[in-house]
Every structure is written in structure tokens, then in C-alpha cells.
Symmetry: C3
Subunit: 139 residues, 3 copies
């Protein structure tokens, strides 16, 4: 069994942002030399997500509007968490809707994807450096 590990760093300049990381993940896979196995890609921070969906700007605006409706940033004093001095209570909730991680099948040295699957880093409390973990096991 082979294994591979790498961290990817992001610094999204706004509070909210969705970053297509598919090509960086493909680069990790090439670097690993693994042909058959499973890949885990997860946010290492608890106010961010890794998820798979469509690279379409209208949809990304829809996600932003929808998440803001489900878990509004304002009023920040609505969240008990923000009594700790944080203002990111909403981001912890948004991250649960979008998920922490994806697990991806590796087949014949490729991400085993359907036609529109793209991997995104979802930032809900940006303006600082945060990490994604890539771990692959297989052979």
C-alpha cells in the first residue's frame, strides 16, 4: 500500500469564496503515483468546506445567497459562539451544510469523476491563511 499526503494553503480575500481546486488535486494525484485507491480531501479548519459540484458562477452566487439565508452572518450577536469574541458563528453552520470533506475514487491514475464534477474549497470565514489536507492511499 502506498500513501501520499499534502497540504494546500488558501487565503480568500473576502469572508465568502468558492475556489476550484480540481487542477491542484490532480497535480497531487500525479505526484503520488497512485493508480488505484481512495483520496480524502478535507478542510483542516472548521469554518470551511471541501465539496464537489459545478463550476458555474451563477450557481456559486446561489450557494452564497442560500447559505446566507440558512445561517445569516448578521446579526452577529444572534450566535452564542460569538460571545467568545468571534464573529464567525454563521460560518460553523454553513460549513455543516456544505460538508467538511470529499472522498474520491482513484481509477487508472485519474480522479474517477462524472462529467461535471469539480472540487471546491468553500470559505465562509476568509481573509486569512487556511489549509486543505490531501491524503491518498492505494497502489
Amino acid at each position: 500500500m502506498k500513501n501520499y499526503r499534502r497540504e494546500l494553503w488558501f487565503n480568500v480575500p473576502q469572508r465568502f469564496g468558492l475556489v476550484n481546486i480540481t487542477s491542484q488535486i490532480e497535480e497531487c494525484l500525479r505526484e503520488s503515483g497512485i493508480r488505484e485507491g481512495l483520496m480524502l480531501v478535507n478542510a483542516m479548519h472548521i469554518t470551511a468546506s471541501v465539496f464537489i459540484n459545478d463550476d458555474e458562477s451563477g450557481l456559486h452566487q446561489d450557494y452564497k445567497n442560500w447559505l446566507e439565508k440558512l445561517a445569516p452572518h448578521e446579526p452577529t450577536n444572534h450566535y452564542f459562539h460569538n460571545r467568545t469574541g468571534e464573529d464567525n458563528g454563521d460560518a460553523h453552520l454553513k460549513r455543516q451544510v456544505m460538508g467538511r470533506e470529499v472522498v474520491i475514487a482513484i481509477t487508472q491514475g485519474k480522479l474517477d469523476f462524472g462529467p461535471w464534477e469539480q472540487i471546491f474549497y468553500g470559505e465562509f470565514d476568509g481573509m486569512r491563511r487556511k489549509r486543505v489536507l490531501v491524503k491518498i492511499i492505494g497502489e
Copy 2:
């Protein structure tokens, strides 16, 4: 390390549908011959889900009503994504609530499940052929 891959195809005749795929997944596991390992089952399309819950028709109606409340199909012009000519903006959101994938432990050649766990394909934009990927690694 052994690995196994198979695609399952579905054509749900309505926009929304939940299909119990547990027996098909068990058949994949038997075919793989893998006794100990991890199994990934994921939707290959970004308006569908694979999830684990109860096979109870009332609950399935509850999921339908609830998802429609969280991310209504109508009015379709509410979604920026639908300006591309699509009418499935809601389905991309519903899929995030229900999830893309499940990872299942394989123990002694069986799905290592609790008493009520069943695997479902969740369709939120049906009336066409779509795929689920099954990947197993182990020995």
C-alpha cells in the same frame, strides 16, 4: 490490496425520487470478493445524492417536503444558475443537504451496518439516465 469498481445506472421517471440501492451494493461487494476494507458509493452527477437512512415511505415524503422548503424548485427564476437555460438550480442545493457520497466499512465480507441503515440514491433532477460509482479497496 484489491480494488473493485462498478457503475450503476438509474433513470428516475420524476424530478424527485429516492431509490433503495442496498441490494445492488451488496451484489457489488460479493462480486468484489473483498472481506475487509472501505467502500465508497457516490453520485457521479451534481444534482443527485447517495445517502444512508431509513426505508420508510412516510420519511421519504418528509424528506421531499423538507427539501422543497429549504430549496424550492419554483420560482425557477429565483436561481442565477437557471439563467444558463437550466431549471435545476434547486437540485444543486438539495444535493448539498443530502450529501454526495457515503463511505461504508466492509467487515467479514459484509456491509458493516447498524440495524436500520439502508443506502439510497437521491434524485433531485430526474427524467434522465444518471450514474452512481461504487469503489471498494481492501483485501
Copy 3:
């Protein structure tokens, strides 16, 4: 390839509760002797979750309030599922928001975590004994 399996039992005395299980999971990892691989931790019951987020009591109150707003317990006759004699229709919905499982990278014999990641058992229909499954594969 090595593999490891263990069940953890919980009996949350209220309907809703979030239990930090990180130290129990670390004990499983030590017991496994696995240094590089992937770990699956999943609820074996369909009205409970395993998820990763922050161990902060204000945030946990926020999760409780938010989930109750997204999928209220009352009125129980609002859910078709409850016509079966159950009163936990809401718990099946809450579990989908918070997720069934987490997959964790194992690196150099440790949970490969960011600075604030902690693992929780999320109970949405408590007052009875329920299980979490830990499965690790690697070497």
C-alpha cells in the same frame, strides 16, 4: 494492509446532545497500531451523526437552536414518519444536515487534524443506547 474495527456505545440522557469523542477515537487508533491510512467513524443509527467541529459550548447551543429551526421536533404530527408511531421524524432530518460519518487521514500514527478539529457524536433522538463504528485501514 491492516484493518481495525471497534464499536463505541453512547446513552445520551436527553433527546439532543453533542459528545466529544476525540479521545476515544485516539485510543482506537493507538490500539490499531496503524500509522498511515484512512479511518471511518460513522453513526450506526439513522437519527444520529458523527461530525467534526469546535468544542465550544456556545457553538453547541447554536447548533441546537439552528437545527431546531431547520427541522423542528414539534408539532410531531407535522411528519409523515411519525404516523408509524415514532416521534423522531425531525431527528432523521437533523442527521442529514450534520452528516452520518467522517473520514480522517491517519499520518505517522496520529489523527491528521487542523488546530481546532474535534470529533463529535451528535444525538438527535437520545435516551437510549446507540452505537458508533470505527474502522481503520492502512499499515
